[in-house]
Symmetry: C2
Subunit: 387 residues, 2 copies
C-alpha cells in the first residue's frame, strides 16, 4: 500500500448561498484546492453529498460526472459517495484507497452540500433520511429529537447538568469567530448558553450545529511524489478506518456508547501505531454537544460518561492538551452535511502544515478527524501526521 | 497493487417484488454470495443504489450501515456509491481499490434497487435525475426521450432502418428465456419487434429495457488468498477504468460517440494488455438498443456507425464471435438501475467459471462488463480473466 499525502485543500465559506448552485460551490472549493496542490489535472473526482437527490428543486443524481464536466475536468473518473453526514469521510477514504492501490495517482475529493431551502421542512425531512425510515422516521422524530433522547438519557445516567455541556459550544464559537470560512462569527458566553432557546429538550439552540451551504475539496496523491524539501511539511494519512452500528438508536445495547467510533478509532490507532495520548488536535463531529462528549469518550480521551469533564477543565481549548473544533467545529463553522467530513480533513491538514492562521494550535504534528453519519451509525476516523 | 479475485456472487430474480424491501432484496443477494465465496465475514460493504432517496415512501439514505446491520454484518465499514445507472460498476471499482490497496481484505459489493412504485411517474422522475436538471430535465424530456434523440440522429446519419436494431433485442430475449433470474422469459421474433408499440419514436417497447426490483452481490478478495487448485477457476480483475462525459447529450461534440466508453475501454485494455479481439463475451449496457450499438463501437468491436452489423451478422449470439447480453442483458434480464452493474460483473464471473448453466458460452476465458450512468455520462469498464 502506497503512503498517501494531502497535496492541497480548498474551502468555501459556509453560509446561505442562495445565489450559488451545487456546481458553483463545488467549483469554488476545487479551484483553490488544485492551486494549493499545484496540479492542473486529477485522475478521479469523488463527490461527497447527501441531499442533492432530495431537494425541493427536483433532485440531481450523477453529480460526479456533472461536477467534473462543469468544473473543467470532463472525461476523468467521477462518482458520488454517500453515508449521510458521514459522506465526506467515506469519500475521503475511497479516494485514499484509490491512490494507495495505484489504481490512479491523483484523487480529488469534494464534499458539497446546499441546504438552504425556502421551506425548512424540506431540509428536516431530508436529514431524517439518515435515520431508519421504518423504525425511527416513520414514528415522526426529527434528527434532533433522536439526539435529544440520547442527551436526556446521558444527563440522567451520569448526573451531569445541561450547562456542563456549555464549554463545547463556547469553545466552538470562539474558534469560529477567528475563521473566515465559518458560518457563525459571534462568541458566546455561559449566560448566552443558559438563556438559549430550547429546541428539543434538552437540546437548545446553542447545543445545535447550524446547517449551511458549502464545499470543501482535498487533493490526494502518493507521498513519494512530493520529494524532499517542499515548501511545506509533508502531511500523510497514517490511520484510516470506518465502522458501523445500527441506524436506529433504540436498537443498540449501549446507546450512550458510540460503538462505531470506538471500533474505527481502535483500528486507526493500530494502523498509525499511536494512541489517544499522541493526538495533538481532534476535529470531532459536534453536530450536537452530546456528540462531542460521546466522541471524546469513544476516542479514549475520557472514560465513558466523563466527556464533559474535558470541556470543564479546559482540555479542549486551543491552548489545552486536546484542542477540538479548532476552526469552529460543526457547531459554529457550520454543518453542510455531506461536505462536513471534507472540511474536517482540510482543517486538520492546515493545522499540520502550520497554515491555520489565527486558528493555529501548537503542537500540531498529529491530528485526528472523525465524521459521523446518522446518530452514530457510520463513523470514519482518520489520523494525519506531519513530517 | 494486489491482484484481486472474485470470490463469490449472488443474485435475486428481477421482478416486481412488492412484498420485499430494499433490505430484504439486498439480503437475498448477500446470503448466497457469502456462501458462494465461502466466507462468513467481510471487512466492508459497498452498496450501489440510485433511487432509494427519491422513492415515494419518503426516502432512505445511509443505506450502507442499514443493510450491514439488518443482514448480520453490524459493525463493518459500509457506505453507498452512486453514479446513476452506473452505480454498480462504480461501487465495484471502489471495492476493487480497497482490496487492491490492502486497506482491507474482503469487500462485499451489493447493488440493490427497488423501482416498483404505485405511480410510474415517480420512477420516471427519479430516473430523470440522471440527466442534467438545469439543462435537460428542466425542459421536460424523460430519460427515454433523450435516448430517442440519439437513436433518431443515428438512423439519420448512418442510414440504418429501425428493424436493423432488432437482433439486439431478439438475442437478449432469447438469452433471458434461459435465465431464471431474468425479468422477461418470452422469446421474441422479428415480427414481434416490428409490431411493438412505439414508446418514444424511434424507440419502441422492444428497444427498451424493463425496470425492476432486484439485487446482486459480489465478494472480492486478494487473488493470492485463493491458493492453487480450488474447486473452480480463478477469476481476477485484469482491467478497470472509469471515465465521464457531459451529462447533457446536447453538450457533446459527437453525441453519437460514447467518449467515456472509448476512454475507459482504452485504459482497461491497456491495463490488461488486451484488445477487443481478445474479449470472449461482453456484458454491455443495452438500456436501449441504440446503446448496444454505441457500446460495441466504443469498445472497438465495430467502426463508428457500424454497430448494428454485429447484430445482423450474428456475431453477438451465444455462438457468435462476441456474445453479448448472455444472461438477457438490461433488455430482458431487466434493469434495476443501481444494481445493474453488479449483475453484469456477476454474469461475467459465472461465464468465466463455466457456471452459467444454459446461458454458458464457449470459449469464456476473458469477459468484459460495461456499465453506463446517464446517457453516456459515467462509464465503467471492467475486464475479468479466468486462469
Amino acid at each position: 500500500m502506497r503512503e498517501v499525502a494531502i497535496l492541497g485543500v480548498g474551502l468555501t465559506p459556509i453560509d446561505e448561498h442562495w445565489d450559488r448552485s451545487i456546481i458553483d460551490l463545488a467549483g469554488e472549493a476545487i479551484r483553490p484546492a488544485l492551486e494549493d496542490a499545484g496540479v492542473e489535472r486529477v485522475d478521479s473526482l469523488i463527490v461527497a453529498n447527501m441531499l442533492a437527490a432530495t431537494g425541493s428543486d427536483g433532485g440531481q443524481l450523477n453529480l460526479g460526472a456533472q461536477i467534473a464536466d462543469w468544473r473543467g475536468l470532463r472525461g476523468i473518473e467521477a462518482y458520488k459517495v454517500e453515508a449521510a453526514c458521514g459522506s465526506g469521510g467515506a469519500a475521503f477514504r475511497a479516494g485514499l484507497a484509490a491512490v494507495a492501490s495505484g489504481q490512479l495517482d491523483v484523487a480529488l475529493v469534494v464534499g458539497v452540500e446546499k441546504m438552504s431551502e425556502t421551506e425548512a421542512s424540506t431540509t428536516t425531512a431530508g436529514l431524517a433520511t439518515a435515520a431508519d425510515a421504518d423504525y425511527e422516521s416513520a414514528h415522526g422524530p426529527s434528527f434532533i429529537a433522536l439526539n435529544a433522547l440520547l442527551m436526556r438519557r446521558y444527563l440522567h445516567v451520569y448526573g451531569w447538568r445541561h450547562e456542563d455541556f456549555a464549554p463545547f459550544s463556547i469553545n466552538a464559537h470562539a474558534n469560529a469567530a477567528r475563521n473566515p470560512m465559518a458560518r457563525l462569527h459571534r462568541s458566546i458566553t455561559m449566560e448566552d448558553y443558559q438563556r438559549a432557546r430550547m429546541i428539543c429538550d434538552p437540546i437548545s439552540l446553542l447545543d445545535s450545529s447550524p446547517i449551511g451551504d458549502g464545499a470543501a475539496a482535498v487533493v490526494l496523491g502518493p507521498a513519494a511524489a512530493l520529494g524532499a524539501g517542499g515548501r511545506r511539511k509533508r502531511v500523510t494519512v497514517v490511520g484510516s478506518a470506518a465502522a458501523t452500528d445500527s441506524l436506529a438508536i433504540h436498537d443498540r445495547k449501549q446507546p450512550l456508547r458510540l460503538a462505531a467510533a470506538e471500533r474505527s478509532c481502535r483500528r486507526a490507532y493500530a494502523q498509525a501505531g499511536l494512541g489517544p495520548q499522541d493526538i495533538d488536535l481532534f476535529e470531532l463531529h459536534d453536530a450536537f454537544s452530546i456528540m462531542a462528549a460521546l466522541s471524546l469518550e469513544a476516542g479514549g480521551f475520557a472514560e465513558p460518561g466523563q466527556g464533559p469533564r474535558l470541556g470543564l477543565d479546559g482540555a479542549i481549548l486551543p491552548t489545552g492538551r486536546l484542542p477540538v473544533a479548532t476552526h469552529g467545529g460543526l457547531k459554529a463553522r457550520g454543518h453542510p452535511v455531506g461536505a462536513t467530513g471534507v472540511y474536517q480533513i482540510a482543517e486538520v491538514a492546515r493545522q499540520l502544515w502550520g497554515e491555520a492562521g489565527s486558528n493555529q494550535v501548537s503542537p500540531a504534528r498529529i491530528g485526528m478527524a472523525q465524521n459521523i453519519g446518522g446518530s452514530g451509525a457510520t463513523i470514519l476516523t482518520h489520523i494525519l501526521r506531519a513530517s
